[in-house]
Symmetry: C2
Subunit: 475 residues, 2 copies
């Protein structure tokens, strides 16, 4: 009925062997909590991430303002600290208050694996259906990017044709979460690359040298330029018009998992130098893997996650068999001491998927005081997940190719923004809007300092070459 | 009447100060002959380039075969060793003989500077008009690429809008040299990027790591992928159809100045690994700057070149004032010893632009035997250039925006290829078609060896990241 200390498959942890102490790692490719000397992986410490990344914690007062400005009660993800951090959220609220335009941007790297419940978090938070969330609260355009080119470039084995198959499947999964085609544009890089989008890609490439990318990503791929270009309204003239003096001032709000922050830190830095509006961000924590806190679900490890195609029985089996429990070893102990909801994966999942705050609180009290046993807690979790996944599967079955076409089509979008804006106040400059470099963490700034000299030499060399090359036929 | 030893402006020579001995440098950004201990820049040694680059000299027997296969007398550039080197030209002739398709690819980096007569050489050689050359001889599609994105990325100062203005002007200059819109597609990267072209760009990027690019270009820009993608027929489904099993087998023939060979060496290497037909190349030598052998015309130095917008008087003044002479110091000496046509810029220009072989030979004999004085030689050169430049200017004035549209439009092209093919023989594999790495020079292979280890580490890291990243939402 209860589990021993969590053992986390290596693939879910850092590169360091389990038994060896290792620090918490969170970046676009690695996510894992600190591994103690005992080899046990601790839960991700999200407060240290706020410090390390230099983001802002979402405070009670932010929630109060959010409700005041939007007239909507904050989403349970915000109420429960699942969406816990931001960059310039208040600037977006200022704009909404004044009825000034902005848009939402999220995305996904299409992969052969079916999505798991962890993948749905940013989309759930972004979407409007059932829980009626961000896109509906703000009633603004939503742009969803599918990075098929990155999935090809970064894969040793995949061909473009493979990745395009995944794109076709994944887009239906995303649509099944529930978005409004009238105000949503979904694109894949291979389909959309070109025009103003490509121009912005090269603008970013020119401003972010490979060395900056190296400092941020730890390797010299400059793919960030393509993810970055999607954060700029001028990449989408069919939505925001072709007058750059207007579109360049329209910012995006990017709901993303905290591990994606480095990409957009670079984008914010460049936006400043390109005189484009800086994207704002709200960061979600991760849904723990079944194996417990400190691990992240992996699309390639079936036993690490509940997948959106799992049948009800499979969901029951996975939760009962794998969901790490915060309960005590024996029923007696559990009755006496109660369980630990912070460590309990089933409870964590309920905080993500159970809408009713009072019900959740009843469960928390019952479990921590020993009135509720792990089996009962798991049963509640199983029931919630079965409903959630079943709903998804029904919507997924209803997604037609025509609907996909509609989302992909480069059409004008229909959105209202704030129906009752207040008189436009003097434009407030978002905090940190002129602090591009501050977007980098201390370590990255150190790395950059090192790279700077090399970089200047490189530029000098390029300039020289350019002069020599000026106007010469290439062939 | 005669000149002292040539003094070449620094901008036309290598980075080394004039007075210091320096080796010959020829790459896409630097072209200059060896500078002797005396500080005098020697003529480019094209034979050492053939060795260094690993290309093949165009031999008398190649010319004979060319005439036999095409039924056309070799262009004066070939007859006179101006087009002196190739890669797989015989493979292209094999295909032509069998009536198998291929296409011509040339291009230009649009710049603010007006084109000079040096820029026109690859186009003159490629075009069909007046001298009725390659495109007409073969009657195959011609693709002309304008690398506006590269000109933006590699410039410290230019904005995309600037580069696009240059593109609009430069394309009219190119059209004025004379091409057939029915079988020519001209595009700029900013206009054309996307679709199958972008897919091939990423295919090349994936196969050519930054380290390979570094080894070839000496810096880590991977722009070669975009120039490379244009060498593959599958980038142009509107011309070659969307069946890759066919288009991937259609090679290009790239007439280019020898300094551009490194780009396409990389492309040939990658083509092999992508199972695309390798592009073939024919290399032209440079038109010497007015200042003499060993220097290259510069679009940014007016006195280094005859520009296509120079008025007749300006042409006369430039030749009389700046054209380095191979003549003797006094008329008496010239009458006695005769002049040196190898060093004489006016004579060199005549070899490029005077079509009549017998007339050219009469001039050579008269000048080298002292019967002709430098003034008379310059007068003949001036007359030829005035006619050539005037003809260009008249055609340029006639280029309409509608005509430009026609060249830019993605339409089916009309071409016949070989009207009398011989029965298709067994497909001959182009020499070196499986020797991708051999396309690199010794130095580059050395550099590559060094880079290889780093590279393998990088790939291992990427693979690991990929596994972690698989299927994770990017935002």
């Amino acid at each position: 009925m209860a589990d021993s200390a969590p053992t986390v498959p290596a693939a879910l942890t850092t590169d360091a062997p389990l038994a060896i102490h290792s620090k918490q790692t969170v970046d676009p490719w690695n996510v894992s909590g600190e591994t103690g000397a005992d080899g046990v992986v601790k839960a991700i410490n999200y407060h240290t991430l706020i410090e390390e990344f230099g983001t802002k914690k979402i405070l009670e007062e932010d929630l109060v303002r959010f409700e005041k400005v939007t007239g909507h009660r904050p989403h349970r993800f915000m109420r429960r600290g699942i969406v816990f951090s931001h960059r310039d959220l208040n600037y977006i609220l200022d704009r909404y208050e004044r009825g000034e335009p902005f848009f939402l941007y999220t995305g996904r790297g299409p992969s052969s694996d079916s999505m798991h419940i962890g993948h749905t978090v940013p989309f759930e938070f972004t979407k409007l259906m059932s829980h009626r969330w961000l896109q509906d609260v703000f009633d603004v355009p939503l742009i969803i990017m599918l990075t098929d080119d990155e999935k090809y470039l970064f894969s040793e084995s995949r061909e473009i044709e493979d990745v395009q198959k995944y794109t076709a499947a994944n887009v239906k999964d995303i649509i099944a979460i529930g978005f409004d085609p009238k105000k949503t544009f979904i694109f894949s890089d291979y389909e959309f690359m070109g025009g103003e989008f490509y121009k912005n890609v090269t603008r970013i490439q020119k401003k972010t040298t490979l060395n900056v990318a190296k400092a941020i990503f730890g390797f010299d791929g400059d793919f960030g330029a393509i993810q970055g270009a999607t954060a700029f309204a001028s990449s989408f003239p069919h939505i925001f018009g072709s007058d750059k003096s207007i579109s360049s001032k329209i910012p995006s709000l990017i709901p993303c998992a905290i591990d994606q922050d480095p990409y957009f830190r670079m984008t914010r830095d460049v936006a400043h130098r390109l005189h484009f509006a800086k994207p704002a961000l709200i960061h979600a924590r991760f849904l723990d893997a079944l194996q417990g806190p400190g691990s992240k679900m992996s699309a390639s490890i079936d036993t690490s996650a509940i997948f959106m195609y799992d049948e009800p029985n499979k969901i029951r089996t996975k939760i009962n068999k794998y969901a790490f429990s915060g309960g005590q070893v024996t029923e007696e102990e559990q009755r006496a001491k109660g369980g630990d909801t912070d460590k309990d994966v089933s409870y964590q999942y309920l905080t993500f998927f159970l809408e009713d705050d009072e019900e959740l609180e009843r469960i928390r009290v019952a479990y921590t005081t020993g009135k509720m046993l792990t089996g009962e807690l798991k049963a509640k979790c199983i029931a919630e997940l079965q409903v959630y996944v079943k709903g998804f599967q029904e919507r997924r079955a209803a997604v037609t190719d025509e609907l996909v076409e509609d989302f992909f089509s480069q059409k004008k979008l229909v959105f209202r923004g704030n129906p009752h804006p207040i008189a436009a106040a003097k434009e407030e400059v978002p905090e940190g809007s002129s602090d591009g470099p501050k977007e980098l963490t201390k370590n990255q700034l150190k790395k950059l300092a090192k790279e700077k000299m090399i970089e200047e030499k490189r530029l000098a060399k390029l300039k020289e070459k350019e002069q020599k090359q000026a106007g010469d036929a290439i062939a």
